[in-house]
Amino acid sequence: MRELLRDAEHLIRLGLLFAAGLLVFLVVRAQLVPAGFGELGHFRAGAIGANQEREPRFAGRAACAECHGEPAESLAAGGHAAISCESCHGALAAHAAEPAEIPGFAATARALCVQCHAMNRARPAGHPQVEPVSHAEGAACTDCHDAHAPGL
């Protein structure tokens, strides 16, 4: 037995080295894994609070309607009722908080409309679609269409 221990000494040393490595790993792990990790799942529980503390960038439809009542009403009545104001006008929480200082965004660019209305055979058949290059040759869509109550 003693001889075996002597001849396997290097393996015992290797085992001890691994044990030491494991110990270092566990200590380092305990130091590096953030507090609250695993409390609610395989993530840092504090991340939820940290996300909640971030300022929202979207104001929401109700905030828009406070000042822009007419377009909001016409939007709610028309074919674009399911689309939120900020889908076209951009994230405007800052504008809603300080309307005088921070300007809103008039959504007139053709690029916005063709995201949904460019001709694409993969779209449902009844969906209004145009060829963006030839249709009304470069004029703003809003020259002829009311985006809040779509139609001609």
Binding site: E3, R6, D7, A8, E9, H10, L11, R13, L14, L17, F18, G21, V28, R29, L32, V33, F37, H42, A111, V114, Q115, A118, M119, N120, R121, A122, R123, E131, P132, V133
Partner: protein, 393 residues
């Protein structure tokens, strides 16, 4: 007319841009080389194929060099160097991807490092005895302070080494089967979701590992002016040929199954293979990367050729094989993201160049294991003579 030139038909917004880049192509390629090189090494150790003995150590060092670099593409892809290493610290059973830390560390520490250390122990002890100063200190540290090379201790090493290799084979299968499983288990993606995926990945890993070690062995003997062991090269090429045949048969089985089953995704995938993947899959992977090298290897098996001609054919076949296996990874990873899950549209992969996930870092990550291997070979020469006191072994 489309407003987005790279997109054809209908794509959901989150499908237009590919999230898994060329770095994620490299990851299975690198781990495949690790598993393949290790399995080649185990041919000699466990299955007693003595003809490949000259490449035993080189295979192990190749596996280690590639394994050390294997997580790098993942970490580059993740970004956030301040926290991407946490994938090693907090592995978890909840998802296949979260298990990476377990699989990787097990294979690196419980298999490769121990096997290499046991194999090189006589050499390390010999160097620690024969050198002075810092070199001696370095090699003495690597011996862990034990210079016992008695016949009994070497016999123990041999037994433990064989045991580690026996564990190592399923571990190598686990490592690469796991990588295939990550793709094969994505049930929302019909290009990936097949139970054959881990097996196909595994066999292609063996193929790429043998091809890589064959090329490295050719280069090493040429660079070091060491006589090449032709029976060894012939045996490696034979195993490469057999493994490649099995791999190709499995891929064909997958293909035939898909064509015959022709489920709702079939037309979309068929169109993709014939258009967007035409170059990389039909021409690159299947013709240049599989049929041509298989033909070259078959030629060496069927016709008696001169040594010079065989060497040329082996080198050519191995290089094309590596290209083919790389393209196989490419077609799986990139191909799986090119079509819409609505089956109504396709997007395009635009590779960047000098960005975090661009071509340049991919080339560097691919070259890095070779640099690591160069350093390892200098520290632990694979062809070093056995120290005199261990000749009895």
């Amino acid at each position: 007319m489309h407003t987005l030139p790279a997109v054809e038909g209908f794509m959901y917004p989150n499908e237009m841009e590919l999230q898994w880049s060329v770095l994620i192509v490299l990851y299975p390629f690198l781990t495949g080389l690790v598993a393949g090189a290790f399995i080649l090494a185990s041919l000699q150790r466990v299955f007693k194929v003595q003809a490949v003995a000259p490449t035993y150590r080189l295979s192990l060092l190749t596996a280690l060099a590639f394994l050390l670099v294997a997580p790098l593409p993942l970490q580059l892809h993740l970004g956030h160097p301040e926290r991407s290493f946490e994938m090693f610290l907090t592995p978890h059973r909840s998802s296949a991807m979260a298990m990476f830390g377990f699989v990787y560390l097990w294979y690196l520490l419980a298999v490769l490092v121990i096997e290499i250390w046991l194999e090189y122990r006589p050499y390390l002890v010999g160097r620690a005895r024969a050198t002075t100063g810092a070199t001696r200190l370095f090699y003495r540290a690597l011996t862990l302070g034990s210079e016992n090379l008695s016949p009994r201790s070497l016999e123990i090493d041999d037994r433990v080494g064989r045991f580690v290799t026996v564990i190592g084979i399923p571990s190598a299968f686990l490592l690469h089967g796991y990588v295939g499983f990550i793709f094969g288990s994505v049930k929302a993606n019909p290009w990936w979701s097949t139970p054959l995926m881990p097996i196909v990945f595994l066999f292609s890993a063996i193929v790429s590992g043998i091809a890589a070690v064959l090329l490295i062995y050719l280069f090493y003997t040429w660079a070091k002016r060491i006589p090449l062991d032709m029976p060894c090269l012939d045996t490696m090429a034979k195993y490469l040929y057999y493994a490649f045949l099995v791999d190709f048969a499995l891929e064909l089985l997958d293909l035939v199954h898909r064509v015959y089953e022709a489920d709702e995704s079939f037309h979309t995938l068929d169109f993709m293979v014939k258009t967007r993947l035409y170059g990389s899959q039909l021409v690159g992977q299947i013709f240049l990367g599989t049929l041509v090298p298989l033909g070259m290897l078959a030629l060496t098996q069927l016709v008696a050729l001169s040594e010079r001609a065989r060497k040329g054919l082996y080198a050519g076949a191995a290089a094309l094989t590596l290209v083919g296996i790389f393209l196989m990874r490419w077609n799986v990873v990139i191909g799986g993201q090119l079509f819409s899950k609505s089956f109504l549209g396709y997007t395009t992969y635009k590779m960047e160049f000098a960005t975090r996930e661009g071509l340049l870092p991919a080339i560097l990550v691919m070259l890095l294991p070779l640099a690591v291997l160069w350093a390892l070979v200098r520290l632990l020469p694979p062809m070093a003579a056995t120290p005199p006191e261990t000749e009895a072994r």
